[in-house]
């Protein structure tokens, strides 16, 4: 690791101020991606601004038809929360499949969302459930948030405060996990709320995306068979040593079918 200055923020406002003041700062949430990145010397920030001790940035609340998860809430807390299991069990499944138990004891929803790893699980959940990202400056719709490979709509100095999930009638999340890392080679969150259906895909492309053709077919018939014939074009999908674009495109359909099956089970 290259050396850096460490600053512990006492509030979101202080963190936002510090990140603007320092030369080339990075926000530290759970650190499950950032610290390994630093250890490999893939990043050389001048300062780390730690959110870990900010009070009131953790917690889950279910209010009417909205499940709110604050930014520093850990995957373990989401996976085991009675409110999450009751309102959106598929989201508890998603959080419980991230990394391993020790990683889930540290990693946070805010950190994962802001990092926007193409193979992370949360982006599929956020896009597939149509969540809203609340920052210290504004609210950002899921469809506008993930803009590219490790890129989001967040501006410099903009921090995630919470993620608000509308509670669907039904939802299912299934991923084809890479055998060694557990990351999603392809993961799909499908949700149905009234007649509206969303299909959110992670792992397959540079960032999470929706599949409108599947959404239209599922709105007519919310069954795995309804989308069995829909092929996603591989043109813009990722291709690497783990899976080629054609294979990932195939997985989009297979995982989406399984996610629907999980949602109606």
């Amino acid at each position: 690791m290259y050396s850096f200055e460490y600053r512990r923020a006492q509030s979101v406002a202080e963190a936002a101020k510090l990140i603007k003041e320092v030369d080339d700062g990075k926000i530290l949430a759970g650190g499950m991606t950032l610290i390994p990145t630093l250890k490999q010397r893939l990043a050389q920030p001048s300062d780390l601004i730690d959110l870990g001790k900010i009070p009131d940035l953790k917690g889950i609340t279910l209010s009417g038809k909205t499940l709110t998860i604050k930014a520093m809430t850990r995957h373990f807390d989401v996976a085991t929360s009675a409110d999450v299991k009751k309102a959106i069990p598929a989201l508890a499944v998603l959080a419980g499949g991230i990394g391993d138990p020790s990683v889930r004891h540290r990693g946070t929803i805010g950190g994962s969302t802001a990092n926007a790893d193409p193979a992370a699980d949360y982006p599929a959940g956020i896009v597939g459930l149509g969540a809203t990202i609340e920052t210290n400056q504004r609210k950002i719709a899921a469809d506008d948030f993930f803009t590219g490979l490790f890129e989001t709509a967040l501006e410099p100095g903009e921090l995630i405060i919470a993620v608000h999930f509308p509670v669907p009638d039904k939802a299912g999340y299934i991923k084809f996990a890479h055998l060694a890392s557990g990351y999603a080679t392809c993961g799909v969150m499908v949700s149905k709320t009234g007649t509206a259906v969303r299909v959110g895909v992670t792992g397959a492309g540079p960032s999470a995306f929706r599949v409108p053709e599947m959404e239209a077919a599922l709105a007519k018939s919310f069954t795995p068979d309804a989308i069995a014939h829909i092929k996603y074009p591989p043109d813009d999908l990722l291709s690497d040593m783990h899976a080629g674009a054609e294979y990932r495109a195939h997985l989009v359909t297979v995982m989406a079918k399984r996610a629907v099956a999980a949602a109606i089970a």
Partner: protein, 165 residues
């Protein structure tokens, strides 16, 4: 340098560390507690697991400065001062839950965490929960048996003995 202080195995300790010092480096190099191992150093293998405020975490993936003010228990903190093994340690011995022993401190710390969170967990659950701990010797069978027996011993106070054939 940053001044930090935390409770490790029930004792308050402090030190001056560079911000880039990992918790596992602080534990091993500053405190001399070398029971916590560094295996892969990439958050995969789990050899460095300690209990952090009562939960298993990978001490190679947290800065020592982040752990300021926390309570940490390492493998050295499990046995009683008179040397009596923790029930999970006794189970690992009884069920041959180790060969070379390198992964064992992390395995035992995670096993205790599993037993506390999921008492009575079945074999499938135990195997899933050990996803973040890699052993290159045993093939895991003895480890899984040890976790289940140790978990039972933590509840009942009695370690079921292995059937010897």
């Amino acid at each position: 340098m940053a001044k930090i202080s935390m409770k490790v195995n029930g004792k308050t300790v402090s030190g001056d560390v560079e911000p880039r010092t990992l918790l596992v480096q602080f534990i091993r190099e500053h405190l001399g507690l070398t029971g916590t191992h560094v295996g892969c150093d990439t958050s995969q293998c789990g050899a460095c697991n300690v209990h952090y405020n009562g939960e298993a975490i990978k001490s190679c993936t947290i800065l020592a400065v982040q752990a300021d003010g926390s309570e940490v228990v390492t493998i050295e903190g499990l046995a009683k001062p008179d040397g009596t093994l923790h029930p999970m340690q006794a189970a690992f011995r009884e069920y041959h839950g180790l060969q070379c022993g390198y992964c064992t401190p992390g395995m035992v710390m995670v096993a205790v965490d599993i037993a506390r969170r999921l008492p009575g967990a079945d074999e499938e659950t135990v195997r899933e929960e050990l996803y973040g701990n890699i052993c290159r010797c045993t093939g895991y069978q003895g480890i899984v048996e040890a976790v289940m027996a140790g978990s039972e011993a933590m509840q009942t106070g009695v370690l079921p003995l292995k059937e010897h054939h």
